[in-house]
């Protein structure tokens, strides 16, 4: 689809060769998932790392705390091995105030060279949405790239537990002062529709529902994503097959264009609920930043330490994708 901006994206090994800038600052998440270190490892091999910061997010729930602590201690050593220096790690609680996060990110920006890669692979949405907004809107960040590593698979059981009630993702609250007549509720389809029916029921029952269905989901995700749709359909019936939009999960730009189309370039008052894959959520975050939309989520209190496992390989190479978001201080979305 032709748009105003060409938005470069693609596999790391391909896109990294095209980038003129060879020195980057990296912001990532020190998580329990194996994929956490794949992007930084490639970045270290390909570029010079000017500055890096890893955020260690501590769950509120205590069930997996000890197991997570052990995995993260090991991952920290691994990170040190990749970087060759003691990694710069900032410890934060999952439900900490976004004020603290803003301070941490602003400090990171200050210490950076203005060329930033954010690895969104392991960040909870509660973190990567505000981080993205701060980086994207900062004049000091001239170049911004998002990196994403595809895992080999996901834990078969519950991925997250004890969801909190509906709330806006921090910093993603529309600034409209009058109650808007929301016409569209756009849902990123994932595995767990925690509380989604109750949001639609309580507050946005008149809005038309659009589901962004990750395509191709591939087994075994196929079943889980359709279960998600079924769950929504039970409480909030889908009346038209056009309400399910099949979106290429890797194509952030395409997903963004879909959002633009179904909302008449953001003119149709909409709310977003990102439950789908990170890349889809990335597009939703960028759309919400541009069009000042409410973004809702039911934040789980804890994530399973084996949320995902491994790194997906393709032709012997790890599947890591890069998405250019800002080039030479020009916003591409």
């Amino acid at each position: 689809m032709l748009t105003d901006n060409f938005r470069p994206w693609g596999r790391f090994d391909w896109l990294s060769q095209k980038l003129n800038i060879r020195e980057w600052s990296v912001l990532g998440c020190l998580g329990t998932e194996e994929r956490f270190s794949q992007a930084i490892s490639l970045i270290k091999n390909e570029f010079v790392i000017n500055h890096s910061l890893y955020v260690d997010v501590i769950d509120k729930g205590k069930d997996f705390l000890e197991e997570s602590r052990k995995i993260k201690a090991h991952h920290k050593q691994k990170l040190e091995g990749i970087l060759g220096v003691q990694p710069n790690v900032s410890l934060m609680n999952l439900l900490d105030s976004p004020v603290i996060l803003k301070r941490v990110v602003n400090k990171f920006i200050e210490d950076s060279n203005g060329k930033v890669i954010i690895d969104i692979s392991c960040f909870p949405k509660r973190f990567f949405f505000p981080i993205l907004k701060i980086l994207y809107n900062s004049d000091k960040v001239e170049e911004l790239i998002a990196a994403y590593t595809v895992p080999d698979g996901y834990h078969e059981g519950e991925l997250a537990e004890n969801p909190l009630p509906w709330s806006h993702i921090p910093m993603f609250h529309s600034s409209a002062t009058l109650p808007l007549n929301i016409e569209k509720a756009i849902i990123g389809v994932g595995f767990l529709p925690f509380g989604l029916p109750s949001l639609l029921k309580d507050d946005y029952s008149k809005a038309e529902l659009s589901l962004l269905f990750p395509f191709p989901p591939g087994p075994p995700n196929y079943q889980r994503t359709w279960d998600f749709v079924r769950e929504i359909n039970k409480f909030y019936p889908l009346t038209d097959s056009h309400q399910i939009l099949r979106i290429d999960v890797k194509d952030v730009s395409g997903c963004y264009n879909h959002l633009t189309n179904i909302t008449s370039n953001g003119k149709v008052p909409s709310i977003l609920a990102p439950y789908g894959p990170k890349t889809q959520s990335l597009a939703m975050a960028l759309f919400a930043i541009k069009h000042d939309c409410d973004v809702y989520y039911t934040q789980p209190e804890q994530y399973h330490p084996n949320y995902s496992y491994g790194v997906k390989m393709c032709n012997g190479n790890p599947e890591v994708y890069l998405y250019c978001l800002k080039i030479d201080n020009t916003k591409l979305y």
């Binding site: 069930d63 609680n93 439900l95 900490d96 105030s97 976004p98 004020v99 603290i100 803003k102 505000p130 078969e156 059981g157 519950e158 537990e161 004890n162 969801p163 909190l164 009630p165 509906w166 709330s167 806006h168 921090p170 910093m171 993603f172 609250h173 529309s174 600034s175 409209a176 002062t177 009058l178 109650p179 925690f194 509380g195 109750s198 639609l200 029921k201 309580d202 507050d203 029952s205 008149k206 769950e231 039970k234 409480f235 909030y236 019936p237 409410d294 039911t298």
Partner: protein, 682 residues
């Protein structure tokens, strides 16, 4: 040919639709129980999710009242109470809860309090703005008759007069500039709200100094606005002003940083209710668990007093079945709701009797009839029996013969012979004549019929039968959402069952086949089980429900003598519960979320106080246990529940366990085959 749709597909239709369709769908049956909502005085409207709180609050909105007026349909509120106007705030949607996100873990108590005061200030500005909007909605209608009915003037010039007086009021503590027009007043109100929004979104590092210096006292500008509306003649002296506060249950969840911010915000709302002014009355919509037993008033040690400061309308209590069925409102409500839903569709239905529900679903079968339907052929009827090795063959043959004629009676006869009483046990040596079966005593039989059905179904690896009006109403447990949920699933099953059958395309097959109903209800029950994964301590609540359901299924089928037919619930002594806070808190939470139902009861031991707990009825079919309560429940110690709480199985384990209980998918497939699901209807 009618469009084959499911009239219950949209469970929340009454909230999704505009005011015009609301008129057609809203059932006034509950109104007699909720009249306090339309009279002066603060009201706490409590109810589980889907109990109808929003519907009742929506009746207060001028848009809804106008829709009734335009359609010339009698407004469900009695004439004597129609003089009112309302305004409100939805605490989640307005974004006000986001103040909690700004509190740092090391925040001083004073900072937290300061944020709570901003919360109150935001509520004031928002509600006053909404009140003006409500008045304007009525004025825009430009209908003297309607305005007169609710006691409002449609003279637009009064708005500016009101705006001038309100902007000049001391209640704003200097926060508003003096204005001459309503538009200027609204602009100022919205500018303040915009500042808060920017602050919440971290677009600005701090609030403007003017806001910091002019935080208003919760409720004062709202009361002042109402008083001035009366003073300038916008509303009549006797016109009530109701302030709706939705999603109060959001507040206790706001303590992200382990602070008391959520608690303080609750106290701010309580302060608004404590003013005891006649100017306005508050309507607080909340789930059961959120309203505290002692509602503390902000910055005081005072507590709101029930009856004096507020009254409570508890929808769940009013709709749950009491001992006296004749006063039970719920069956009348669902009858009306069901009829209204069908009337909105193209389906034709025959109102043969008094009950459309009975027309559609039939009457529930007796336990005896259900047993006969469960085991149809001779072989399966004999198979329901389990013989004791010491029983003489004559007795075994007697039971076998009886089972072919009357399986329920044979199963009860088997249980009778297993009783502790030697006289009863000796029956195996002297089988009774058919007309004098001792287990046919009315109460003995009645108390064990459901357990017998569970055992019969279990022996044949089948699901229980769930069908008919009484089952559907009983399984709904007094919750309108669950009723609609069940209807939705039955209708889905019926649509699948009759697909391609042109004869039934033009009308409801009346009543729907019981096999189809059973399948729909089972689906509904299994789907509903997944719901507890939402909300506080969801993981533990989900786990305990699974353990209880599996426990009671096992207890009921292992008890071959049917000595404990009431074991589909448990009872705990009050003294035991009071000393085990973990279990007490859990049980309160589980009841508040609707996972369990709690009932006080008389103990077997004289003078002992106990409480009994049962799974929500809708959960029972999936566990193959009865929702009906009979005899004494299982007497347990609180430590058993504590063990279950610690046995924190995740849903994967539970699902596999549940599948084992249900003898895996092949049985379900078998069951579908047995239900003859693909057959054409008769």
């Amino acid at each position: 040919m009618v469009e084959r749709i499911n009239p219950f597909h949209d469970l929340y239709l009454t909230e999704a639709i505009g005011p015009d369709s609301f008129v057609k769908l809203f059932s006034p049956i509950f109104m007699s129980q909720g009249l306090a909502l339309y009279q002066p005085g603060n009201v706490i409207l409590k109810g589980l999710q889907g109990s109808g709180k929003t519907m009742l609050l929506n009746l207060l909105k001028p848009e809804t009242h106008i829709a009734y007026y335009k359609q010339k349909v009698e407004f469900p509120v009695p004439k004597a109470y129609r003089k009112f106007i309302s305004a409100g705030i939805n605490l989640r949607k307005s974004g006000i809860a986001e103040f909690a996100q700004l509190i740092l873990p090391d925040a001083e108590a004073q900072d937290i309090k300061e944020n709570a005061l901003y919360f109150g200030d935001f509520v004031n500005y928002w509600v006053v703005d909404d009140l003006i909007r409500s008045i304007e909605t009525v004025i825009d209608l430009n209908d003297d008759d309607f305005a007169s009915e609710i006691g409002i003037s449609i003279d637009k010039t009064l708005l500016n007069k009101f705006a001038h007086k309100l902007s000049d009021s001391l209640c704003w503590l200097g926060g508003l500039e003096e204005v001459e027009s309503i538009e200027s007043l609204k602009a100022q109100l919205r500018d303040r709200i915009l500042n808060y929004r920017n602050y919440i979104n971290l677009n600005i590092d701090s609030l403007p100094d003017k806001i910091k210096r002019t935080k208003t006292v919760i409720g004062e500008p709202i009361s002042q606005a109402a008083d001035l509306m009366r003073e300038v003649g916008l509303i009549q002296k006797e016109t009530n002003v109701f302030i709706r506060i939705d999603q109060y249950e959001e507040l206790p969840t706001l303590d992200f940083s382990e602070t008391d911010f959520g608690l303080l915000c609750q106290q701010i709302i309580h302060k608004a209710l404590s003013s005891r002014s006649d100017s306005v009355s508050y309507r607080i919509g909340t789930r059961q668990y959120a309203w505290p037993s002692e509602p503390v008033i902000f910055s005081t040690t005072g507590i709101l007093e029930l009856k004096r400061d507020y009254s409570v309308v508890n929808i769940d209590d009013k709709l749950r079945r009491s001992e006296n069925r004749s006063t039970w409102l719920f069956p009348y409500l669902v009858e009306d709701v069901f009829t209204r839903r069908l009337q909105l569709t193209d389906y034709k239905f025959y109102k043969k009797g008094k009950s459309v529900l009975t027309d559609a679903f039939g009457s529930s079968m007796t336990a005896k009839l259900k047993a006969e339907h469960l085991v149809i052929n001779e072989k399966s009827r004999v198979n329901i029996l389990k013989f004791d090795p010491e029983w003489p063959s004559e007795w075994n043959d007697y039971l076998k013969k009886l089972s072919i004629v009357d399986p329920m009676s044979a199963k009860l006869g088997e249980a009778w012979a297993r009783q502790k009483d030697i006289k009863k046990r000796n029956i195996v040596f002297n089988p009774p004549k058919e007309d004098s079966l001792p287990w046919n005593k009315v109460y003995w039989k009645k108390e064990r019929a459901e357990q017998a059905l569970t055992q019969i179904a279990s022996r044949n690896k089948q699901q229980l039968i769930w069908q008919g009006k009484d089952d559907i109403v009983g399984l709904s447990g007094g919750n309108i959402l669950i009723f609609l949920f069940i209807c939705q699933h039955i209708w889905d099953s019926w649509l699948r069952d009759t697909r391609g059958n042109n004869e039934v395309n033009s009308e409801i097959l009346s009543p729907i086949r019981s096999e189809v109903q059973t399948l729909g209800i089972l689906n509904a029950s299994e789907e509903w089980q997944k719901k507890p994964i939402e909300g506080k301590q969801s993981k533990k609540r989900f786990s305990v429900i699974q353990q209880l359901g599996e426990r009671y299924y096992k207890l009921l089928i292992d008890d071959l003598a049917m000595s404990y037919p009431g074991r589909n619930g448990f009872s705990i002594a009050s003294y035991d519960l009071n000393r085990n806070k973990i279990v007490k808190d859990y049980l309160k939470l589980a009841v508040d979320y609707g996972d369990l139902q709690a009932i006080a009861h008389t103990s077997k031991s004289k003078g002992e106080k106990r409480r009994k707990f049962y799974l929500a009825p809708i959960l029972c079919p999936a566990f193959r246990i009865s929702y009906k309560h009979t005899k004494e429940p299982e007497y347990i110690k609180s430590s058993l529940i504590e063990t279950m709480l610690n046995n924190n199985r995740n849903s994967t384990q539970v699902n596999s366990s549940l599948k084992n209980t249900l003898n895996n998918k092949s049985e379900l497939t078998q069951q579908q085959e047995e239900l003859n699901f693909t057959d054409k209807p008769e």
